[in-house]
Symmetry: C2
Subunit: 301 residues, 2 copies
């Protein structure tokens, strides 16, 4: 709400906590703790609804939206996309829904933790799943750009597979490294840079790590299988021939590709044109990002 308002957009919000609502009002924002009141206003104004609740709170919010504001454009900011899409579909709201994941945040929560600049320069993933509506997509794209983010278009399943590999697997590897070293006398006495870096995210609160990993279990299982397979093969090679060449060379080559990974700007796609979703998914996969609004078919430029 802070970022949207700072960019000149009209914004009003709901929070179940009266303390949060009062803090927001004190700072001059339009907030209420009446869910149906806010949703009714959203329906009247034909607003874009941005769901910013944890997964467990999602079904009850979707129940209320279906009753009170079923025709509003709808997006979310949850870190898993497949499970949210399933819940939205189950509630019959998929026609007006475009999943989102702004990749920015802090370890804190509540009104005081907000920051109008939080999204500046951050990737904001927007889902290009089969059937997403071009007009809703454009609306959410404008919000993300207005908040200072660049947009990464991605299918929900690919987003979740990537998140498993680059966020959830690193957490489990860090836990594994800390746990393994924790059993070795003298290990902490000698630990230096590679151990500190490799276990940094193991300092994250266990509940947060569990929540993110367990909510993406299907995709994380695939990443874990890959990692276990690579380590098992390296172990066999080290025991058999004294060499870890294959793993080390593959890993190094991948890290070098990452270091030289570029983010070309997506410029030529028209939202709503034939195959626009597949085109954006392919561009996002190749590192492409949207930094200024793409045109929408049938709309004045």
């Amino acid at each position: 709400m802070r970022a949207a308002k700072a960019s000149g957009l009209d914004a009003f919000g709901y929070n179940r906590s009266m303390d949060g609502v009062e803090a927001a009002r004190f700072d001059g924002f339009d907030a209420s703790n009446s869910l149906d009141g806010v949703l009714d206003r959203a329906a009247q104004a034909d607003a874009l609804i941005v769901l910013a609740v944890p997964m467990p709170a999602l079904p009850i919010m979707l129940d209320h939206i279906r009753s009170t504001a079923p025709d509003c454009a709808l997006t979310d900011v949850t870190s898993v996309k497949g499970a949210v899409l399933q819940a939205v579909r189950k509630h019959g709201l998929a026609d007006r829904f475009v999943g989102g994941h702004p990749m920015a945040g802090t370890a804190h929560s509540g009104w005081a933790a907000g920051d109008a600049k939080l999204f500046v320069g951050a990737p904001w993933v927007l889902s290009v799943d089969d059937g997403v509506d071009p007009a809703v997509w454009a609306t959410v794209m404008h919000l993300a750009l207005a908040c200072g983010s660049f947009v990464v278009p991605a299918r929900s399943d690919e987003h979740d597979a990537a998140a498993a590999a680059i966020s959830h697997l690193p957490h489990l590897l860090a836990e594994t490294l800390a746990a393994t070293a924790g059993h070795v006398p003298l290990a902490f006495a000698l630990a230096a840079g590679s151990f500190r870096d490799g276990t940094r995210v193991a300092a994250t609160a266990p509940d947060l790590v569990r929540a993110m990993c367990e909510a993406n279990s299907e995709q994380l299982l695939g990443s874990l299988d890959q990692a276990i397979d690579l380590l098992t093969r390296a172990r066999a090679s080290l025991a058999g021939s004294g060499s870890v060449a294959e793993l080390v060379e593959t890993g190094h080559a991948a890290r070098m590709r990452y270091d030289s990974f570029s983010r070309p700007q997506i410029l030529t796609t028209t939202i709503g044109a034939p195959d626009w979703r597949d085109e954006l998914a392919a561009a996002g996969r190749a590192g492409g990002v949207i930094r200024s609004a793409l045109p929408v078919l049938g709309s004045p430029g």
Copy 2:
């Protein structure tokens, strides 16, 4: 040689490269490319010989030392300790040998990469294996302290097990993470902090990673088995009950223990007193370090 001389010790050195020798001489150091000449001088001066060569060069150096300076005190600065100890024993030089591992360095090599301050504030592991000589141990301890390091006493096998867990395993996990993400479309497009940290050491030159891992293969196999076992159990638990609680809680607890790990100073051991080696090994295991010279039995304080 720079650090020893800066601390006021007498030092002279050998390098096989005439370029290196000339660069050292140009900077005012006493260097030569005649190995037997330098070893002969060492024998005359009853010097401490510090071996600073890669593992493959070790046997030929030990051959020369056995022929020319077999009674000199001897130490090394190699990152694995068990394999060096074996080679030293094979050459019949174990009586005068105390293995060392100053945990400091740069990615560069050659004379120009040296720095008299390199060892300041760094742990310098000294081996307390069965039978190490108290007088030689004290001599090497004085060198390490003179260079600005603190001394961590450790048995060679425990050093290597700890190095496997806190240095070699982190490298292989980083390679695994990079290689796994490298196969996932969109992964690099979404990669952020936990991926960057988790793969940082995968940017190290593959030859260096292989050399350190493969030279410590026996201990690394144990660490790899532990890591694979932890990941396999987490995978089964995630697939079966949707939970990664066990791994996450164990890893987090270990990382918290590491964050609060303290380094008490070792003050009460007398080098050469009964059980001094076991006493130092136990103190080092508990995080103890030597910051000022311990007394030696029978020597004036």
